[in-house]
Amino acid sequence: MVDVNAEGAAREPATGTLEIAGRRWGSRLILGSGGFESLELLGEAIVAAGSEIVTVALRRVDPGAQGSIMSVLDSHGCFLLPNTAGCYTAHDAVLTARLAREAFETNWVKLEVIGDDRTLYPDAPELLEAAETLVGEGFVVLPYANDDPILNRRLEEVGCAAVMPLGAPIGSGMGIRNPYNLAIVVEQAGVPVICDAGVGTASDAAIAMELGCDGVLMASAIARAQDPAKMASAMRSAVQAGRLAHEAGRMPRRTYARASTPTSGVPEFGNPASDRSS
């Protein structure tokens, strides 16, 4: 991603870099490759979002189909992050991670162990078990978690390289439903926190970053926007805006007003009544 990095440096106020397991990236926006109607749209979104890390999934080979997703990601110099989407047990997630390591020659994995298909929320005990196993096998594990501070701490304790609490159900676009939990996760985390799932529009991504997240992962918010490439640009700006605001330190909130204009030295023009009557 040399180009993007250089470009980024030229183009944007520095917002530090995202560092996970010793690797660094200039972009804090991780793109999920799912849901795009075509690989062309995916390519445009990657460019507009400035994303360097992009997720992929594994499925049974469809004879005849081209593995062209690989060439698209290669052509944009993306770092592939395989996930274990579709796994409902630690057993299947571990095997899928091993297959991904073979297929992509990477020991990185976005670990998903789903609890049910209506919420697509993770199954906490199975997720912990799979994370522990994969860390033991030398994987760099990025677990998709719920926003429970305890689960996120346990995942860090078993050696995950980052934690990825959800903001809302995958594909719901409901934003950060419980900012309090996310803030607690961030506050106690010793590894990077990536908000994964739930972002629906730009302000949701900005909020996640303002809460102190190190990055945001999204797919549907971009893929299912009416104009995916434009939304990708919006998200790029939003992640940067949120990060800058977090670093800048926001003004204090107050219930009442506070004048931004000095209240002394106001000219006096005498009695309005007389003037009005004229």
Partner: protein, 68 residues
């Protein structure tokens, strides 16, 4: 002999290997982005040639798709 490939029964010649099966299934023999498990054990690419398939084994051959 018969093996179960991605859930479907498939007839293979005796002595068929994982490598052979992959060639049958994909135009591009370059296996990048592809991985194989036989009876729930991953077979590293380096051993595709030397790994024979035997009657009734369950083979999962997977490749990258958009996702996540």
């Amino acid at each position: 002999m018969k093996v179960i490939v991605n859930g479907r029964e498939r007839e293979l010649a005796e002595g068929a290997t994982v490598a052979g099966l992959i060639e049958q299934l994909r135009e591009s023999p370059d296996g990048r982005g592809v991985a194989v498990a036989v009876d729930a054990e991953v077979v590293p690419r380096s051993r595709w040639d030397s790994t024979p398939l035997t009657e009734g084994q369950r083979v999962e051959l997977v490749a990258a798709i958009q996702g996540g």
